[in-house]
Symmetry: D2
Subunit: 327 residues, 4 copies
């Protein structure tokens, strides 16, 4: 039995990890802490829930792996402390996703807090980085939007199945849990329920991450906020290369993911949020629509888009079966 | 004081009209009937609601204008009866939206029930057909998706502001009321709440209507079903022509709609469903995003997307102020 | 044409008033201000919405009536200022609902800010205080829970139709808008959506108000929070006096409210939130259930439970038709 | 490893069982069938879901236990067939809950389809029938409303802690999944979302079941429909016997359920739906409110109110650990 720490356990991704781990046969959360040292310990949200202790970096030495569910900026220092005592770290924040510290600064508005660590981080889109993750000491867990967009796109881009010049449109819709647990006007029930909107049009922070991983800046990304709690659907419009069609793109993806337990390419029908909620699955349909091909990609933003993929990565880093704890 | 009939008053669009008319200073609903002759009259849904009488074509001769809120296919016969007695007709169904009866048959799966009437119908996207509507005897009220897409696109297409060869992506999201009031697995609370999906990808019935009115088949349209009751947001991705940008496209739209009370072009910010719900407004933002420009367009699918625009058209046809009854 | 000021216009009840007044033929909001002097003016929430000015007590002298949509505690000073210049005041906060300043202190945790004004305030449950409201200078607008409970109960209590010793259970359920617009953990979408709970069991602040107005402390009141935005339903369990039954209680209520446009007693069926949302109506059903009679009472908490009833009262105070501006 | 059949697997309770069983270490669903012989087999609802075969009674002989998730009336015949080949049966329908066939006929409107089996059925409110369930061949799984009401009430009634003459009010609120998966006007998204209502006031079918099990007809029960999918909260108002108070009633319940893993009595705070959703838990708070004591009781209607309790019962009947498969 291996052990892990969850730092920042009171947020949605931390809680999601806490909810997964009791089903894990070989990994136990023995350290459950807040994200910042000033923060008060938190009593159980309701009877039966765990208590969240105050942050204490010394306790990181007692576990095998560390999950960082902290806001961006706060993760770096804790990651450094954990790496210093030889622990495996999966960082769910944005701190290690961008390889270029200058790009980080432009995107997040402050200097990168630990640029020396950037070279040691592996970008953990598991299906596309499995062996690197297995040997990594520090994994940057992908953002939810990038995960939903890169999984269907990467094989097509890598195999030259898409027109090399045409823009790619990624129109994504996310449940509110993606905005985090802190109260605000934006996440007030009265502002979400029976509402819908695009936000960050043209300048969302996940765009540089998507461009970096896709190796192209031709992807035009627009996020939207759904009146739902969990789940994410990206509708992606691609221009097939000459000789390609929905059928050949679908075959390409079906083959690429044929042995992947967490990615499913539909032969027919469209994925819905409810197909993937509370699972680590990514479901993808490929459909011709006039001159373009439409890729619809559904994940649970708290699972494959955050805690689930983090656990998938930690399993690999600790030498455990990749799917443990992931139904 | 003018009078009107609402045929098919028990559906969502019929009820929406019934809810608008008490605020109308010059038009009163004196005939409120079901959509089909076999249908039972309906008692008030709850105390205070109107009774819906059985369909009786003879009563159409007693009013000035007729709203047809019937399923497609059922409207044609009633329209013919109303026209025969010289009444103004606004048809909210799809029966008169496509000019080509062969296209109607391919799209709706049955022969057009009244092809001889097609030439007499005016497509009532009011802001773009005002004088024709004023003189029309029969108006085909536009579909909700086409309305949300054509309003921001038409001025740009007409003025050659867009690349003439690039595809246009129209990614639309609609509240459930667009699917109508008939119970089904698809509209069960358990299938909509906390869910989201694309449907009709590549073959939705509104696509031919959009192509016909835009004068181009380069528009790739994908509808989605929101876990909300009313409202529609279309996110439209266009490639500007040489020399054009978000700023020039925004100016073009701002000028085109400068004097339109029901269309608002944002100088900044993004429209949300709650900006337009229960209004006849269309709100549009124009934002650069990499090589493309993103048009976000919000309407209430039951108002500007159906009953509101129908009332706007009927007002014109009856010589009443266009905004009467529309807050 | 009369004029009014709305103080605290950015909250839900202030906005509801702002949404009603354009439909009012004889009253216009000419002063629209924030609730506290320190507060910044607020730009329109989205294009088309009004700007909210900073609080300026001097402007109260320019209007005929003043609506106070402020938090409790903040209303008293503004009320005093408005009364001093001879203006009619409807206070939607709790400041003048309890006649006894000691009870106010026990309930709200601080000394009453203006006890001298208490004697001048009329409790404005309109249907039961019409002539007093007409002559009032200061009206304490009832709380939403008390309104939904007192309307069905008062005629039964006043006519001795209920057992004089048995407890009365008032089990109430409210939409989230009742909790106000300020962000908090409690009103986060993630805490409301797909959730439900009782709160304030045994000690909610509306209990003393209900007891005072009903003239009895036998009413056991429990509020609950619905995963909905607007609307309130109270399920009230009463023990009929000897010789009384559901039928006689229903007749009593039907007669008491026979000429009231805003109260409807059902002959059959049950009221639902959607019967009363966006109206100033209170709908009531009376049903036998074993030894008890169940009164179900539905209102819109923002209308009859707040802004609607406030407007009803202001209309009376200004000598306008009571229903003006209330559809 | 034991095996079971799920009959009626396409409904909400059948699907809930299907979702639980993969987590069960000792029980596997080897037969998954529709509820009625005429019914078509159902393909997977979406990729990864199980296929549901057509009903075939002969296959019941191949398993150890049979879950009946059929509509009332349809269960009896299948139960008889399963009992005839010596199988353990848990019936989630209402067929065996009422001991008196005449009462069944009055309540469900048709003669009981298998009165001879009634004497063999054990009412499976597990915590109160554990040893009988262990030896039963046929268990009538309790209704969701009765479960949420009886768990907090039974110890109080059995120990004489309540006034023997005062009525008990049980005001219950249920998510929509309780109404089943069949489409209807009542469960249309447009009729549930942003709505709330009482139904079956004075005559709901669960009332006789509650009265029978509580041994008293003093319980006045009112169900309500929440705009939520899963979860149930009952607010129960009791009159303590002389010398009793909220504190003593709470102690009584805490002691009665001290060793029960699926019932939790709160020392403070109020249960919310989200505390129990997707668990087999019943959470109960006990609070003084004037002369009455308020019991708030939360369960997941699909788990402890249906499939979870059914699995708890089946585990006992098959000699497996009671909590297997129930997180």
């Amino acid at each position: 039995m291996k052990t892990c720490a969850i730092v920042g356990a009171s947020g949605y991704t931390g809680r999601e990890l806490l909810a997964c781990l009791p089903h894990h046969p070989r990994l136990r959360a023995t350290v459950v802490m807040t994200a910042r040292s000033g923060q008060q310990p938190e009593p159980p949200a309701f009877p039966g829930e765990p208590t969240i202790d105050a942050l204490d970096l010394a306790r990181l030495s007692t576990v095998d792996g560390v999950f960082l569910c902290t806001p961006h900026g706060a993760a770096s220092e804790i990651a450094a402390a954990a790496l210093a005592v030889g622990k495996k770290v999966v960082d769910l924040s944005a701190d290690f996703r961008l390889r270029d510290p200058a790009l980080y600064q432009r995107t997040y508005g402050s200097a990168h807090p630990a640029p020396a660590l950037l070279a040691r981080a592996v970008y953990g889109l598991t299906e596309h980085a499995r062996s690197a993750v297995r040997n990594a000491e520090l994994v940057a867990n992908p953002g939810c939007y990038p995960t939903s967009i890169l999984l269907p796109l990467l094989p097509l881009l890598q195999q030259g199945r898409l027109d090399a010049h045409a823009p790619i449109v990624a129109d994504s819709k996310s449940g509110v849990s993606g905005a985090g647990k802190a109260p605000s006007d934006r996440v007030h029930f009265g502002a979400v329920h029976e509402n819908f909107l695009a936000y960050g049009v043209g300048d969302h922070r996940h765009t540089p991450e998507i461009h970096q991983q896709a190796g192209t800046s031709r992807i035009v990304f627009t996020p939207h906020l759904l009146p739902a709690f969990r789940g994410m659907l990206s509708t992606i419009y691609v221009t097939p290369a000459a000789g390609q069609s929905a059928a050949t793109l679908r075959s390409c993806l079906a083959e690429a993911y044929a042995h992947e337990p967490f990615v499913r390419i539909y032969a027919q029908g469209q994925p819905e949020l409810r197909c993937v909620q509370r699972t680590n699955q990514c479901h993808v349909a490929v459909t011709q629509s006039g001159p373009l091909v439409v890729l619809t990609s559904a994940i649970d933003n708290l699972q494959k888009g955050a805690a689930g993929q983090a656990l998938q990565n930690m399993n690999l880093m600790l030498g455990l079966p990749e799917g443990d704890g992931l139904s």
